[in-house]
């Protein structure tokens, strides 16, 4: 509260924090000065993992730079990422959709994803027999999500449950005698070497059948586990400002590092989408694909925003997979509330001081909605009830620096702790 109370509010037991520095309040710029100006020990970083396939390049383009100081990024195979996320070796990972349902206590933490609203180009099912007569299915190694999708479509559309066999990466389609063959990646993008009776682009088939987009991969974290989350907090006591390095045992009062991470992941996506042509020019020769095909694949076949339609597609995919016994029953599909909004629009404020203050609010788990008229937009705290906190941000305040200072101090004064802001989709 700006002026209603002269004493600071302590939002958690003090015994759980470790003071590392105290300094006279008079040495700070103001009573609500930000932690960024104070020299403190570096907190442990969040461990982030991602696949590095062509379809996920737009999500990780520049992510290393954006995460610098906040998290470490490791690129790996999907199966290893899923295992490490489950074991706790990773805090957040870009994993194939099916892995979410096979894990435990997960939540989707970002609105960045890899999805298709129609033909996806890189996931194809070829058949040598009529679809209703498929008795054996060879699966390209490496994609359990696409394999599950293929089995669902064959079962739901043609009532067939083929016997499965692997198609190793170094095997050609001619090396398999299966009735149908699932190919993913550049093998699926390139024209097949043999003639097939039928071809399904699974993104296209899914859209035609369900009317929904299909989500192939998304950023996932373990819910309620914040062992790597940490931060710095300042409290004013009498004439001293206590700077506290908050560790995992005292995470409840943190300014939601996961929200900050979600914003960074969205920002990385925005950056990657803006650089699709550059990514295509770099990756096309490495994969033996033509530049026009690669550009078209990244910019037209794939989508990178997890919105309501994608959520519904994901939910239906889970229900069908669980119904066929391809995913465990009873899995909750959870999304962080703040993962449905991109910070991009919020960061368009013309004044750099106010931009920085808005960024601070977003990093603290606040949401931004644009406004019309004199207000540039509105910032909302994570409470999301009638008792929440929110305020307008002017487009052209009389004193931009003062306005920015007010924004920061109102965010700091908000009493709503927001480490568990998730929504649950009924599954």
């Amino acid at each position: 509260m700006p002026t209603r109370t002269p004493t600071p509010t302590i939002r958690e037991p003090r015994r759980s924090t470790r003071p590392i520095l105290t300094m006279p309040a008079t040495l700070t710029n103001e009573s609500d000065s930000t932690p960024a100006s104070v020299p403190v020990a570096a907190p442990p970083r969040v461990a982030v993992g991602a696949v590095s396939y062509l379809n996920s390049k737009p999500l990780i383009e520049g992510l290393d730079e954006l995460l610098e100081g906040h998290a470490t990024l490791r690129l790996d195979y999907p199966s290893r990422l899923a295992d490490d996320l489950a074991s706790g070796a990773l805090d957040v990972a870009l994993i194939p959709s099916i892995e979410y349902f096979r894990g435990q206590n997960y939540e989707v933490i970002s609105d960045a994803c890899v999805a298709a609203h129609g033909p996806v180009l890189s996931v194809k099912l070829y058949s040598r027999v009529p679809w209703g007569e498929v008795r054996s299915l060879a699966l390209d190694e490496g994609s359990r999500t696409s394999a599950t999708l293929a089995r669902i479509l064959l079962a739901e559309r043609h009532g067939v449950f083929p016997k499965l066999e692997p198609l190793p990466l170094d095997h050609r389609t001619q090396d398999s005698s299966a009735d149908a063959i699932l190919l993913i990646g550049d093998r699926a993008i390139l024209p097949p070497q043999e003639k097939f009776l039928g071809t399904w682009d699974l993104g296209e088939e899914w859209l035609e059948w369900t009317g929904l987009p299909f989500v192939f991969a998304m950023w996932v974290g373990r819910r309620g586990v914040r062992s790597q989350e940490s931060g710095v907090r300042m409290e004013k006591h009498d004439n001293l400002v206590e700077v506290t390095y908050v560790t995992s045992s005292s995470h409840s009062a943190l300014r939601t590092p996961r929200s900050a991470l979600a914003n960074l992941l969205s920002a990385a996506r925005d950056l990657g989408v803006a650089r699709l042509d550059d990514i295509a020019r770099r990756e096309a020769p490495l994969l033996g694909l033509s530049l026009p095909t690669t550009v078209s694949y990244l910019s037209e076949n794939l989508q990178y925003h997890l919105g309501p339609a994608e959520r519904n597609g994901l939910k239906l995919f889970y229900e069908l997979a669980a119904g066929m016994g391809l995913a465990p029953n009873g899995v909750e599909l959870r999304f962080r509330q703040d993962c449905s909004r991109s910070p991009h629009e919020a960061m368009m404020h013309p004044n750099k001081h106010i931009r920085a203050a808005i960024e601070y609010a977003l990093a603290c788990g606040w949401r931004f909605t644009p406004s019309q008229g004199h207000a540039f937009g509105r910032l909302w705290c994570p409470e999301q009830t009638r008792e929440d906190c929110h305020f307008s941000v002017w487009s052209t305040p009389r004193n931009p620096q003062g306005h920015a200072r007010y924004i920061r101090s109102q965010v700091d004064a908000c009493p709503h702790v927001h480490t568990d802001t998730t929504t649950t989709e009924e599954s």
Partner: protein
Amino acid sequence: MSYEFTLWVRPGTSDPDAWANAVYEAGGDDSLVGSDCGQDYIRFDREAASFDEAVRSAMRTVLQAGGQVNRLDVPEAQLAWAAQ
């Protein structure tokens, strides 16, 4: 001289964006218009010849925007001015 204080108010409209625009048009471009735990406030940073004049001017802004003032909060740093 600039004076900082908060007026707790009853907005003239239930639409928060319409209320904020009304405050701005009434001269409140030196304020932050918001709600704290459901309680509406306007935090001012107002230039005036005296603290008293700053508060009176801010109250006129609120009234002109169609709202009502319920309470004034003054930060510690401004108490010396407020007492004069």
